[in-house]
Amino acid sequence: MQNEKEIINMIKDSHPQNPKKEFIISTENLLRQKARSMRKTTRVRKLTVATSGIFLFALAFSWLFLLNGKETVMNLTNTIGAEGIPSLALDEKEPLVFIYQTHNVEAYYPELQGDEDRVPFSDTTNVTLVGKELSNALEERNISAIHDDTDYSKILSERGLTFNDAYTVSGEVLQKALTEHDSIEVVLDIHRESNKKDDSTTTIAGTEYAKIWMYVSKTADNYEINKAFALKLHDKLEDLYPGLSFGVIERGVNPRNTYNQDLQDNSVLVSIGGMENTFEETFRTADALAEAIKEVLSK
């Protein structure tokens, strides 16, 4: 006959007493994200109260004038135009877009001297420059962006990790950025595709552009949101630069990888160009993407 202690131990022994490691981390990330979005909601609420306050004031002010003069109807419409409809957050100085390159050493043949048999990687002349160009192109359009130029490949070798751990390391940097700037609403991880020139280039109005591929992870719990955002970008690119975007590809199931897209809604992994594209072609595409992002965000 077992005693109480034996039975309790039997219950303990027949159930795995620890959750999976990846579960522990992904749940913490999920909670961080939820906590952040709760804070955002209250901020938006406050903002709405403030805006309607200004609006009411403007209305009252105009009304006073309306009793006295006649040009005041114009005044009223002007005030509404300026205060009543806030033009999203586009004019804010707070960063809206975060750009990083998890596989920062991915490079392009024409920009490197040397061996064409090897897959192009470089510590300096690499996809980071394309990310930088995208960031500049966004800034030119009044969209504040943060460009992260961390050398992840260096960190990996310093810590004795492999290429597969790149997302873990870049995820740490992203997480820090998201905590420091809760204004970030879009996260783009810029990569280079491995296709040959024919498959990775398109000509629009006589000009050559490097093509774009967008990837969303199916294992990120906000997958639907990320996918919807990526599709909007794709549709906008089709409008502006037909044939430039290959489309939105779903990945991340086997091997399981969220590509850190679970950390923030509107996260997309974007490949710009293949191994044989030049910076001229990829920079052009970065500008085109910035245009599409601006259009999508201002809606």
Binding site: M1, Q2, E4, I7, I8, M10, I11, K12, D13, S14, H15, P16, Q17, N18, P19, K20, F23, I24, T27, E28, L30, L31, R32, K34, A35, R36, M38, R39, T179
Partner: protein, 179 residues
């Protein structure tokens, strides 16, 4: 510990301090690791959402566990409902598709223990796990289950007796085989 100006910092601290206990409660209650993980996540999302309503004079750990108990019971009801369907005509279709070697292999002992626990009434089950595995006092368990201390004592006693009988009868030869 709860700083409403820093929700993110607070929930991360709370989560890291309590996830293991909550998970252990849920894995014993549900008998399945994947379910337990999903439910653990659900618990802390509810904790986060209710954080602004937490009364500072109550016990934080029992408060979290009262949420865990609700989540566990909700799951139990849903599962009960879905098994009614499964045991109907769908089960025949399913059994053809699933090969036995694809399923998670339980040892025979685990099988008997899970079987015995799953037959307990949900309240008895919760009482045994909270007292036995999570080592809550009678008073704390009563707080979590929102019943009297006397009922906790009775439920715990009955549940143990029940388990003892089931595992003794069915499990004796299994136990010796397992060793």
């Amino acid at each position: 510990m709860v700083d409403l100006r820093d929700l993110e910092g607070s929930i991360v601290e709370i989560y890291n301090q309590h996830y293991l206990d909550v998970y252990r409660f849920l894995v014993c209650f549900s008998g399945n690791q994947n379910d337990a993980e999903d439910l653990t996540q659900e618990v802390f999302i509810r904790v986060l959402k209710s954080l602004p309503n937490f009364k500072t004079d109550s016990n934080f750990k029992t408060w979290i566990f009262s949420i865990a108990k609700h989540v566990a019971l909700d799951h139990y009801r849903k599962k009960k409902f879905s098994t009614i369907f499964k045991e109907g005509f769908f089960s025949k279709l399913e059994s053809k598709e699933k090969k036995p070697d694809e399923e998670y292999e339980k040892t025979e002992l685990e099988h008997y223990v899970h079987e015995a626990i799953s037959k307990l009434k949900p309240n008895h089950r919760a009482a045994v796990i909270l007292r036995g595995i999570n080592e809550f006092s009678v008073k704390e368990t009563a707080e979590i289950l929102q019943c009297s201390e006397a009922k906790v004592k009775v439920d715990y006693h009955r549940a143990l007796k029940d388990l003892k009988r089931k595992l003794d009868l069915d499990g004796k030869e299994v136990l010796s085989n397992a060793k």
